[in-house]
Symmetry: C2
DNA sequence: CCTTTAAATGAATTTGAATTCATTTATAAT
DNA sequence: ATTATAAATGAATTCAAATTCATTTAAAGG
């Protein structure tokens, strides 16, 4: 019998990420993805049930990576809440630094994915938010943070800011601007704008 | 001859905003919009060239309002940079407080609109960003802000945070949480999380 | 070097909603 | 009242792209 050559599933996901990043999910054509992956339209359907599932798998991998690293981070001893927040910023930027297209897809298509039926994506997002809230609550207990800050508001603001900044960074994803974004964002989260 | 009853154009835009907010642009059906506006599918096309133009008009009105108010704000004498930033937060929340669905559409569909050909939307966004950068530069000159903060990073982060927070607020758009979001966000932008 | 069968192909089919347009309705002018 | 015509309707058409599947290709086992 014939055997599979290379790793087509991976090739397809990589191609899909790039096409979704450039075109957006709805304008992306399966034919474009197939071409970029170097195979035919029909083959895409041997590996993925449909277009939605492609996006779903991309987000699944992404979220699992983010949550896994974040979970390890908050369990690290000898880190205070401020250091953990810096760690979260690093987790996010490290994730997207190795794959800038993923940052664009994350910014553009998260809402589409969370609307899909039969997906655990609202749960993933909620877990991430809940990790954020844990860190902030911890910081408050350690008297590092303003006690009156509303957790939900703070986490929403930081999540949105981080996500959009990553997206902006992906427009010119070089190493130098990566450092500027990372450090700039950490500084704002800690100290805000004012002196 | 027959004359137009009421303001159908307005009815359609209002209905479209609600349907786009709930379903997202691509899943929204013209038939749903027509039904919610209390008229037929064909009538929608008497008032708008196509589905894209509906979204386009919604964003046009939205951006013009935001830019107009922001422009007036930065020209107001006797406001320092910190007060101007508070003003921007207020402009944004005032805009969406009177129409929470607009906040959801703004968060979900901005990327679709900026991909449309023949639209000035990248320009609108750039103008808004440029207003933000002006305020930050001013604050730096007034020695109110950390001199080393990167303007582009700070503005991206704040824009993203503000946009996503508004979207989160629209999920439970009551007056009490509005105040909590407004004040919480202003505080974080000024002072960050740490004491 | 056949034979078997999994893998791959891409043209043909299906689908589903955007858009159109022939027909109907309602108002204003005469 | 009648007529002219703008406004409105919604069933029929169009269209583009997702999905399918009959056919072809190529590796592995005998």
């Amino acid at each position: 019998m014939r055997r599979k050559e290379g790793n087509k599933e991976e090739d397809i996901l990589k191609a899909a990420t790039e096409v979704f990043a450039r075109e957006g999910f709805h304008l992306a054509k399966i034919s474009q993805i197939a071409e970029k992956a170097g195979l035919s339209v029909g083959t895409v359907y041997l590996y993925f049930e449909n277009k939605d599932h492609l996006l779903q798998r991309i987000f699944e991998t992404l979220w699992e990576g983010l949550l896994d690293h974040s979970q390890k981070l908050i369990e690290t001893p000898n880190l205070n809440a401020l250091e953990k927040i810096d760690g979260i910023v690093d987790v996010v930027f490290d994730t997207f630094a190795e794959n800038p297209s993923l940052g664009a897809v994350f910014q553009k298509e998260m809402h589409h994915v969370s609307n899909l039926k039969h997906t655990p994506f609202r749960t993933y997002f909620e877990q991430f938010i809940s990790i954020g809230e844990k860190i902030l609550a911890e910081g408050r207990e350690q008297s590092l943070f303003h006690p009156e800050t509303n957790l939900h508001v703070a986490v929403s603001f930081i999540f949105g800011g981080l996500r959009f900044s990553v997206h902006q960074w992906t427009l010119h994803p070089d190493a130098e601007s990566l450092v500027i974004f990372r450090t700039g964002i950490k500084k704002i989260i800690r100290n805000g704008l004012s002196v």
